[in-house]
């Protein structure tokens, strides 16, 4: 039996952390984005998951170009936030779930995914902001964490097809996890945005709509594009959709229902979205 309650997906734009720090949730610029979260909090409060398995990407806090793993699975007892260099607060520490981490690692390698394992790793805003949005008043995070980092920084990136397969393999590991813990799968980042180059500021609502409309029922539709194709459609940082695709994969074949969805342009340079796919 598996305790997967569903998937929670959200953008992780750093400026969201700034807005939270300044209490701008009701500001007209921010409100349409933050309005997406009360239904997500309600869902999480109903389900009360014990552990979060989170697909995200590091932005130069834990990983540098000296060692850049394509897929990295955290196996730490705890994960710290830290100074990222440009003024975000240092966030609460995350409690790990090393037993589940090593179960996933064993299962993935048996499944021929040759991942990197990390007994120490910092997690950046791509982890902390989705947690802050989900549990804004928590004194301590109410879930244990298994972080899975996907390289979205240095090309060649793993293909969307491979990320979906990785997610499905993680899902198989979760299916075989002998525990009463309830698990929420998370994918963070995106949607379309581009921070660099003459095309900075590029946003593609049509592609984002396509992703939001197909992620639940036809995730295969999202993996037809090459990485270059995704960059062209979603922007250089829009490739963070890989985290959503992997998280969708981890939900497996179980029936899902779209519990809530929000899409808003722009937050900073980004088309921002939040989504819950509930196991039914």
């Amino acid at each position: 039996m598996t305790g997967i309650v569903g998937g929670y997906f959200t953008s992780h734009v750093p400026a969201i952390g700034g807005a939270i720090a300044k209490g701008l949730q009701s500001d007209p610029y921010w409100k349409p984005f933050f309005d997406g979260f009360p239904p997500i909090r309600k869902w999480l409060n109903e389900e009360k998951p014990d552990v979060a398995v989170v697909f995200y990407n590091d932005h130069g806090l834990n990983f540098f170009l000296d060692k850049m793993p394509t897929f990295a699975v955290g196996a730490a007892h705890e994960y710290h936030s830290a100074d990222e260099g440009w003024g975000l607060p240092v966030y609460k520490t995350f409690t790990g779930d090393p037993a589940l981490s090593w179960h996933i690692i064993e299962s993935l390698v048996a499944d021929e995914f040759d991942i990197t394992t990390c007994q120490k790793m910092f997690v950046d805003h791509a982890m902390a902001i989705p947690f802050e949005l989900a549990w804004p008043d928590a004194e301590a995070w109410p879930v244990k964490l298994v972080p899975i980092a996907i390289n979205t920084v240095q090309h060649p990136l793993p293909s969307a097809k491979r990320c979906l397969a990785l997610g499905r393999a993680v899902g198989r590991a979760l299916e075989s996890w002998d525990s009463d813990d309830k698990i929420v799968v998370m994918g963070t980042g995106g949607l379309s945005h581009q921070l660099d180059g003459e095309r900075a500021g590029f946003i593609n609502a049509d592609y984002d709509r396509f992703c939001l409309d197909n992620l639940m029922d036809d995730p295969e539709a999202l993996v037809n594009d090459s990485i270059a194709g995704i960059v062209e459609k979603a922007g250089t940082q829009g490739v963070e959709i890989l985290n959503w695709i992997a998280a969708r994969g981890a939900l497996g074949e179980r029936p899902l229902a779209k519990r809530t969805e929000n899409y808003h342009i722009p937050i900073s340079n980004t088309a921002a979205a939040s989504l819950v796919l509930e196991a039914v």
Partner: protein, 124 residues
């Protein structure tokens, strides 16, 4: 071999894929930016930018781009925006300032362009 693969790829207008060639070219600049996760290093850079750039062995092209606050120049010299954002933060610039600088727009015009994408009735 990567050059061969790169040539098979259609270029995307106004976009540089940060691949192995760029990662090699930009290593020193990105390493310097990565050091800015540490507040003491940010202070040291503020005290003497040129000396800090030399300490990290930036190439002349990278030194010049940093001195000129030339974002496209830093990208061309192998800078990756995730790391460059830490340098920009020292200068008090956010990603919208960077976007404006790279597109030749004013920051207000750049923000207006972002808002113009909004077809869904949100804040505008």
């Amino acid at each position: 071999m990567s050059a061969t693969l790169n040539q098979e790829r259609q270029p995307i207008e106004g976009t540089t894929l940060f691949d192995g060639d760029m990662a090699q070219r930009g290593f020193a600049l990105n390493a310097m930016c990565y050091s800015f996760n540490d507040a003491e290093n940010r202070e040291e850079f503020r005290r003497d930018e040129a000396a800090y750039c030399r300490k990290y062995h930036l190439t002349p092209e990278q030194m010049q781009a940093v001195a000129a606050r030339n974002v496209l120049g830093m990208i061309a010299a192998g800078g990756n925006v995730y790391y460059l954002a830490k340098l920009a933060g020292i200068w008090g610039l956010n990603v919208q300032d960077l976007g404006a600088a790279q597109t030749g727009m004013s920051v207000d015009a750049f923000k207006a362009k972002l808002l113009s994408y909004n077809e869904y009735g949100g804040a505008a």
